[in-house]
């Protein structure tokens, strides 16, 4: 039996010792915990950890297989995302006890705080006292047993799982209902209580999902395909896009959900030009070798950085929105081009991990597919706050795509119209966020970069918060970004254009003298190396491509990603459709696209008279429109337009 004394050492050192004990199969006593955060986080060995006192936030979080015994109280987020194992708390637990658990037995002898069991997927959460407000909020599975009173709005928007309340059910949440308790379920509960030596012989009321909100009342119809390029960019008052919108609304009687980004014309990188005339026709064929482009992202706070052969990444896109084959093709292409790929929401598949040499693992509010084992095999961790296409909103994955395989990796019921939560259970402000970031670093031994994905909305404030919360980099996503499914009104009208986002971000960082304290990866509607170079000129450290990579890999831009019957096999989970997709072939296409980006970036950088992409600056740009000039503060020089057009012809 080993001892760690938190009055003598920091939690970080203690956790390293606990993990070491885990490897040696030795149990651990934690002395003088004094409610410190992150005790035991990331432990994946079957040992017992006894906390002699109170634990702070995220005790036993992101663990698998261990037993934790906390003598007194536990703070917020007890047993966060635990897989297997047992956690017993002698006193009370704070808010969101049992958040996002994927299994395990969590026993709280006292009361538990608000929103207990939020987005939990499996396992048992037992509270021997009273629960507070909204227990079982958005839960997807597992069971919550409450021996005391329920608190208000129990089972709010739960999709599945069972809640049993022995005391008074104060009020039911949205889409929750009371039912009779089947005898076998009572037997199961009693067996569980006996196992944990809880002497309780009363009976229970059962709360379950009422089934009113699991599916949209009407499905999106599949319609004649209007490709994105004819759909967008038109200023006509009535056009084929408007016609399609009206038609679809006439069928479904509600707001429309569709794939791709907004179709409105917004100020963008095309409204800027290079100040100097560039002659790409004079560039060498092997110019990419002559310009320094290698870029490290994520190492500024001491983590192992991503090593990019050029300042380019793949934008986060999920297995779910996209087929496994597509994710594999993108992963392979990222490896061939020496850049980083990103899981997006919905977990990491083996195929994805094997294909991509450098892979960022993204964590969203629903914690769908988030787990300690994949965190440990990732090359970077990313907290998604929002995305440019629909800032502030959760995602939709329509039932057609929620197959049993996909549901298993996400830990949710199959066949529901999945609405991902718009916010994280344990990130309700910058102050909670800093504790969350710390948890990820503790769980992975401070080795991995931790980034944040921000949809451009309140950029000035958000980027300052990201810096203060010590993220290593931010993936900043402008309004021109796309999505697999979003409400059409939001895609068109919510957000800040990519061009304005980067300007605000740089301004904000200069205001607090922190430009060197965080790196920025800019994305949102980039099509080529020209957009990329302009972004670097404006101050981004790297850029990311999403839609362009998909199009390079065979997407026909029909915008029906949400339907789930993608004819190219990209945005589908249907094996018949997916069979059309040839990942090995498409990975070569995507790779060649990224190589064209590399060539363009090198040619322009050299054309501007530099040998390294880090020499690019604002001074290399002018604005072609009054709007772009107003947004960027660059000189308005529309006469450069002709040269830009000539360049486009020569470069193509």
């Amino acid at each position: 039996m080993a001892q760690v004394d938190l009055s003598r050492i920091e939690v970080r050192e203690a956790n390293e010792l606990i993990r070491k004990c885990g490897e040696d199969g030795e149990n651990v006593d934690v002395l003088n915990p004094d409610a410190r955060h992150h005790i035991g986080v990331g432990l994946t060995s079957p040992i017992t950890v006894r906390v002699h006192g109170s634990a702070g936030y995220f005790c036993a979080g992101l663990t698998d297989g261990a037993r934790f015994e906390v003598e007194n109280n536990a703070g917020w987020g007890l047993a966060d995302n635990i897989y297997n194992g047992t956690v017993v708390v002698g006193g009370n637990a704070g808010a969101i006890a049992g958040v996002a658990i994927r299994g395990a037995e969590v026993v709280i002898k006292g009361n538990m705080g608000s929103r207990a069991g939020q987005v939990m997927k499996a396992g048992t959460l037992l509270c021997c006292g009273n629960a507070n407000f909204m227990a079982g909020y958005m839960m997807y599975g597992g069971r919550i047993i409450i021996l005391g009173d329920s608190g208000e709005r129990i089972g709010e928007d739960m999709s599945a799982g069972d809640i049993y309340v022995a005391g008074n059910v104060q009020s039911l949440g949205s889409d929750a209902e009371l039912t009779d308790l089947p005898a076998d379920e009572l037997d199961d509960i009693r067996t569980f209580l006996d196992t944990h030596k809880i002497p309780f012989r009363g009976t229970f009321q059962k709360v379950q999902n009422a089934g009113q909100k699991l599916r949209y009342g009407s499905a999106e119809p599949q319609v004649r395909s209007i490709p994105f390029f004819s759909f967008s960019g038109k200023t006509d008052y009535w056009n084929s896009k408007v016609q399609e919108d009206v038609y679809i609304k006439s069928q479904i009687g509600r707001y429309r959900i569709r794939g791709y980004g907004g179709a409105r014309v917004l100020p963008h990188m095309t409204d800027l030009a290079f100040r100097k005339t560039i002659r790409p026709d004079l560039a060498d064929a092997d110019i990419a070798k002559q310009v320094e482009m290698e870029t490290e992202i994520g190492g500024i706070n001491g983590a192992n950085p991503l090593k990019l052969s050029m300042p380019v990444m793949v934008a986060p896109m999920s297995y779910g929105a996209l087929s496994a084959s597509t994710k594999r093709a993108i992963g392979l292409a990222s490896t061939l081009s020496g850049i980083a790929e990103n899981t997006g929401e919905g977990g990491m598949s083996n195929a994805q991990r094997d294909a991509a040499e450098q892979l960022i693992f993204q964590c969203l509010g629903g914690r769908l597919g988030w787990n300690i084992h994949d965190m440990k095999r990732a090359d970077g961790l990313e907290i998604y706050i929002s995305q440019g296409a629909k800032p502030g909103l959760g995602g939709q994955l329509m039932a057609k795509k929620v197959t049993p395989e996909l549901a298993a990796i996400r830990g949710i019921p199959a066949g529901i119209d999945l609405r991902s939560p718009s916010r994280h259970p344990d990130i309700l402000g910058a102050d909670d966020l800093v504790i969350k970031v710390q948890e990820f670093r503790e769980a992975t031994g401070y080795k991995l970069p931790v980034s944040v994905k921000l949809g451009a909305g309140r950029v000035r404030d958000d980027i300052k918060i990201a810096t203060k919360d010590e993220f290593d980099f931010v993936e900043l996503d402008g309004m021109q970004g796309s999505t697999g499914a979003g409400s059409a009104e939001v895609l068109e009208y919510v957000g800040i254009p990519t061009l304005a986002a980067i300007i605000e971000a740089i301004d904000a960082l200069e205001e607090i003298e922190a430009r060197d304290k965080i790196q920025i990866v800019l994305m949102g509607g980039f099509r080529d190396g020209i957009d990329a170079v302009k972004s670097l000129c404006l101050g981004a450290d790297a850029v990311a491509f999403g839609t362009a990579a998909i199009v390079a890999g065979g997407c026909i831009a029909c915008m029906q990603c949400h339907i789930g019957q993608c004819v190219t096999g990209i945005a589908t989970q249907d094996p018949e459709h997916e069979a059309r997709y040839k990942p090995d072939l498409e990975s070569q296409n995507i790779h060649r696209f990224f190589e064209s980006v590399r060539w363009q970036m090198a040619a322009i950088t050299q054309g501007l008279g530099y040998t390294d992409v880090r020499q690019l600056s604002r001074d290399d740009l002018v604005a072609l429109t009054p709007e772009a000039a107003a947004i960027t503060g660059l000189p308005y020089e529309p006469e450069h337009r002709d040269e830009t057009e000539a360049f486009a012809i020569k470069a193509s």
């Binding site: 004094d34 006192g53 006193g91 009370n92 608000s114 507070n132 309700l428 402000g429 910058a430 102050d431």
Partner: protein, 303 residues
Amino acid sequence: MCGIAGIMYKETGDGRNTSTGQALIDMLDGCQHRGPDSTGFALYGDMQPGHLKLRFFVGSGSEAEKAVARIKQILSDHSATIEEDEIIGNNYRAVVEFSGNLQKLSYDLEHAAKVISIGSSLEIVKDIGGAHDVDATYHVHNFSGTHGLGHVRLATESDVKPEAAHPFWATGFADIAIVHNGQITNYWKMRRRLQQRGFEFNTDNDSELIAVYLADKLQQGVKLEEALKTSIDDLDGTFSFLVSTKEEIGYAKDRLAVKPMVMYETDDMIAIASEEVSLNKLFPGQALNTMEPAPGTFRTWHR
């Protein structure tokens, strides 16, 4: 976006009330991760009848001299006699004898300088940096007294300036201070309502609104407990806040329970903080029987 702390030693206690400043420093040190930008304290000390304690941000050098001259002129105009005064850090502190209209004096002073606090008992100390940084400049650990509040701030929507730090004084009302964690989303609407009735605001910080809102109620003769109750209905957004007056301390928490708060009460004292780790700083090595207030609740303690 912050961490908050409050402590009151009860009259029945064992006389440990000499350590309020140090207790708050320890509690804030425990939750400094919640707010690295600035730290502040509201401290309630001894009162002398007919006297007010004033604190101002005056900066340094000639800027400070000019500010102090303006303050002295206003005090003189209002027949307030300076009994003692000093410059500490970037503060000017004065104790004055005064018997006129306090709200009028406060507003006039505010137009001339940056007022931090005015009270017969209350003094607010706040500046950028951590709890120990602020203590090093202002010697907070020397403050004795019966009760006090503390705050660590992570600036999000307003600037990192000393005057945007908490605690907030209820501008125009002596001895009322608040610390707040959260965001009041109907700030401008509520502020306009109070402004239409003649109240002035020193900052654009939503937390100042809570202080003025409560002070207005108290001035109308409403009990603090009742004012906290109505605040839960009237204020929209996320909040856990603490309020203190000359003889009371209280809390209110929003209905969605978005912001944390834990309390620990004994026969001697009541301590409230964002996180239990702050409470354990007062009682190292002990397992405390703490309690998390329910959503939409409020409570006061009286000395």
